[in-house]
């Protein structure tokens, strides 16, 4: 799945390569991030509006995770100078957040009477929240600048 963009320049492509190169997996990543941005943010807004007092910490964290997903989506979607920095920061925050909240919700379940997107490493979302930042960071790492000439961005 993870296709190395920088193969040996001398070897011609053996099989038919994906014409879009890294555009493909990047679009799939953006799809996942956009869905999670929508899911986490709208969930948090509904919870904050309807029942803020039941679990304020969990709902504020849900909102925070939603904003992080929005940041990652924008960072991956755009190609400005700051895009990759935003994507790196968002995916890094996301990984740290899902690991921290994942551990906390298991160790100190009393502090979280209601779930967040990142509770128990995202078990409510088939553990996609813990895999997604790894995919994002992996894509950023494999496409970091300087390792290939600008072909099709």
């Amino acid at each position: 799945m993870a296709e190395r963009p920088a193969e040996q320049a001398s070897t011609p492509p053996v099989q038919q390569r994906q014409p879009a190169g890294p555009t493909g997996p990047r679009r799939a990543l953006i799809t996942l991030y956009a869905i999670f941005a929508l899911a986490a943010t709208s969930r948090a807004v509904v919870q904050l509006v309807t029942k803020f007092h039941e679990a304020p910490l969990a709902y504020v964290l849900s909102l925070f995770s939603g904003l992080v997903y929005i940041g990652a989506t924008v960072g991956l979607l755009t190609t400005r100078r700051w895009s990759r920095a935003v994507a790196w920061a968002s995916c890094g925050t996301e990984l740290a957040g899902v690991l921290a909240i994942g551990v906390l919700t298991i160790v100190d379940a009393v502090a979280f009477p209601d779930d967040t997107v990142w509770s128990r490493f995202g078990s409510g979302y088939v553990y996609i929240p813990v895999v997604l930042p790894l995919l994002g960071l992996g894509w950023l790492w494999s496409t970091r600048s300087g390792d290939r000439p600008t072909a099709t961005a």
Partner: protein
């Protein structure tokens, strides 16, 4: 909501997800029939949402706001996947449509749960 219709929607979603998943596995972009199926799915989702809102006042739901948010939010993923599959004529377009079809199925399942949870 009509529960039987919801399960039809889930069936269409999973059919589309499985089909586009196979396409992605075979390094193929989405085909015309898959795009037609995506449109059928979205039409079914819209129908389901309209029925849900029409019958909302009669059903004493525990979380009506959450239900409303899901009923509207569920309309968004499939058009996103559809558009990406049109732009991206590779296996990755198939993967995008596959993801969004799975999301539609999961969200419909959640809608059924919310519909059956009545406030006491």
């Amino acid at each position: 909501m009509i529960t039987a219709l919801a399960f039809v929607v889930i069936g269409i979603s999973l059919l589309l997800a499985g089909w586009t998943g196979v396409s992605a596995w075979r390094h193929r972009p989405t085909g015309e029939l898959q795009m037609v199926l995506a449109i059928v799915l979205e039409a079914a989702l819209v129908t389901q949402t309209v029925i849900g809102f029409v019958r909302l006042s009669g059903a004493q739901l525990a979380e009506p706001v959450t239900f409303g948010a899901y009923a509207v939010g569920i309309l968004l993923p499939v058009p996103l996947g559809f558009q990406l599959a049109r732009m991206e004529r590779t296996r990755w377009g198939s993967i995008c449509l596959c993801f969004t079809a799975v999301v539609a199925a999961v969200m419909t399942l959640r809608l059924i749960q919310l519909w059956q949870a009545t406030g006491g």
